[in-house]
């Protein structure tokens, strides 16, 4: 029976026990995400009384909630799909990077026992480790006495990268080979000075051509020195 009630005063509402039970049961269903059962319970005929207000509000709210949850779910499923797509793209990129790395460390034997490693592009710690490994193995395999590491293709270096190159050169020298760093531009020269690196035993030259010229001149000098005693010998006879 409809009651006229003051807004803030106590209210007496009459309703059947079964309606209350239905509401409680519906709430229970909602709590475990079973919205179908919940809403079907609430769709029964309702009286137009005050309690019915509560029932109606509850049902409206639940319907909206179901709608919102479904929308959210759809959005999340879509997001997951794009995630999966992105991830497979990332895998492709990784594979391509590996292929690029393989192609990007060419070591050329420019002269008998003289290797040249032209370095271009981005040199991170992984790549510099790979380059060093390949260079060292090639030096041993070919018993190359000189390695020219040409960094003309590198514009700038941070201290970490410079450190990698210094380590590379030191490792070459440790094997017993000569290491020449060519193509150091002013900016890189500054970085090297800045980190106060000890370059003893590591020759640095302006470019690859200079490096090769120096090497050839030295070779000529050595040959000359070997011939000298013979020349003196024959002059005396």
């Amino acid at each position: 029976m409809p009651e006229k009630t003051p807004q803030n005063g106590p209210v007496e509402v009459e309703f059947t026990r079964s309606r209350l039970d239905a509401l409680i049961q519906a709430l229970a269903y909602a709590a475990i995400d079973d919205f179908e059962s919940c809403l079907s319970l609430m769709r029964g005929d309702t009286e137009g009384d005050t309690f019915a207000l509560l029932e109606k509000e509850f049902t409206d709210f639940l319907s909206k909630l179901v709608g919102a949850k479904k929308d959210l779910n759809d959005a999340l499923v879509q997001a997951e799909e794009s995630n999966r797509e992105l991830e497979s793209k990332l895998e492709t990129i990784e594979r391509q990077q590996a292929a690029i790395r393989e192609l990007s460390t060419p070591i050329i034997e420019v002269w008998a026992g003289v290797l040249c490693l032209p370095v271009v592009g981005i040199v991170d710690s992984q790549r510099s480790a790979e380059m060093t490994e390949t260079l060292l193995e090639t030096i041993v395999a070919k018993q190359a006495r000189t390695a020219i590491v040409d960094i003309t293709g590198i514009e700038a270096m941070d201290t970490k990268t410079a450190d990698h190159f210094i380590k590379m050169a030191k490792a070459v020298r440790l094997l017993g080979a000569d290491c020449i760093l060519s193509g150091i531009n002013p900016s890189i020269a500054q970085t090297l000075t800045h980190i106060g690196v000890d370059l003893t035993g590591i020759r640095t030259l302006r470019n690859l051509r200079d490096a090769l010229q120096v090497f050839l001149r030295e070779q000529a000098a050595i040959h000359l020195a070997k011939l000298q005693p013979l020349a003196e010998g024959s002059a005396q006879t």
Binding site: N73, L76, V77, E80, N83, R84, L86, E87, L90, A98, Q126, A129, E133
Partner: protein
């Protein structure tokens, strides 16, 4: 000590895409970087709640099972944890490790070697090298592993008399890694000596300081616990490059 991110990551690898994992950990913020051992019960619940929602929507495989596995891995202290399970279609989840000193998930078997005589150094070295190769570290890295183990084993033999070297293989989304734990109950190292060692100024008869500094420069992660009179534990990690 593993962080929440590491622990959960190893359980979820293969079941949830790397990007989704990343976004979960970003949402967790500092909690993701907290070591598992330092996680309070309330914080653990927060992490699990965050995981539950994402697992239900994104995981391949049973989200309830995954959540339970995460719960186990986050509740690990020094008690042995229950084993993990194989996930179809994705990566393999390793069995949770049993550790007296730390919580590290192992892929396969943990190997421990007693080190007492000089010949044990060579054994430990060879085993470490084999293990490194087995889990997929590059051959250059394997030599570094063997060298580090050689240093650590030598220190044990020379200074402590005896100790153990433990090798634990680990796998996560960043690739394979090898954890090395060298333990002894020797004289330990005094703080002042330690300072000199790290500063590179310590000179010893047998070169112990140089050895430790060398190991530190070689590994990806390095941690040392030493108590004068009680002993020393050195833990280090080598990570695979790919």
């Amino acid at each position: 000590m593993r962080t929440v991110e590491d622990a959960v990551g190893s359980v979820l690898s293969g079941a949830i895409s790397a990007i989704t994992q990343r976004s979960i950990f970003n949402r967790l913020g500092g909690l993701a970087r907290t070591p598992v051992g330092q996680l309070g019960p309330v914080e653990r619940q927060t992490v699990l709640k965050e995981l539950e929602g994402s697992l239900r929507l994104f995981a391949r495989g049973s989200s309830a099972e995954l959540l339970a596995a995460c719960d186990r891995v986050l509740s690990e202290s020094t008690a042995p944890a229950a084993g993990g399970s194989q996930r179809g279609g994705g990566g393999t989840v390793g069995t949770a490790g049993i550790a007296g000193t730390g919580v590290i998930a192992a892929k396969g078997i943990n190997k421990t070697f007693a080190v007492e005589q000089e010949k044990d150094i060579a054994t430990a070295r060879l085993e470490a090298w084999s293990e490194a190769v087995r889990i997929g570290l590059s051959k250059f890295t394997a030599v570094k592993v063997a060298t580090a183990v050689s240093e650590l084993a030598r220190n044990i033999v020379f200074y402590a008399g005896k100790g153990t070297v433990e090798l634990r293989a680990h796998e996560d989304e960043r690739g394979p890694s090898l954890h090395i734990v060298a333990t002894d109950r020797g004289p330990g190292i005094e703080p002042r000596k330690l300072e000199e060692i790290w500063g590179g100024t310590y000179k010893s008869q047998r070169g112990m300081g140089k050895g430790l500094l060398a190991v530190k420069k070689l590994v990806t992660d390095f941690h040392m616990d030493t108590v004068p009179g009680k002993g020393t534990t050195v833990t280090c990690v080598f990570r695979g490059e790919r």
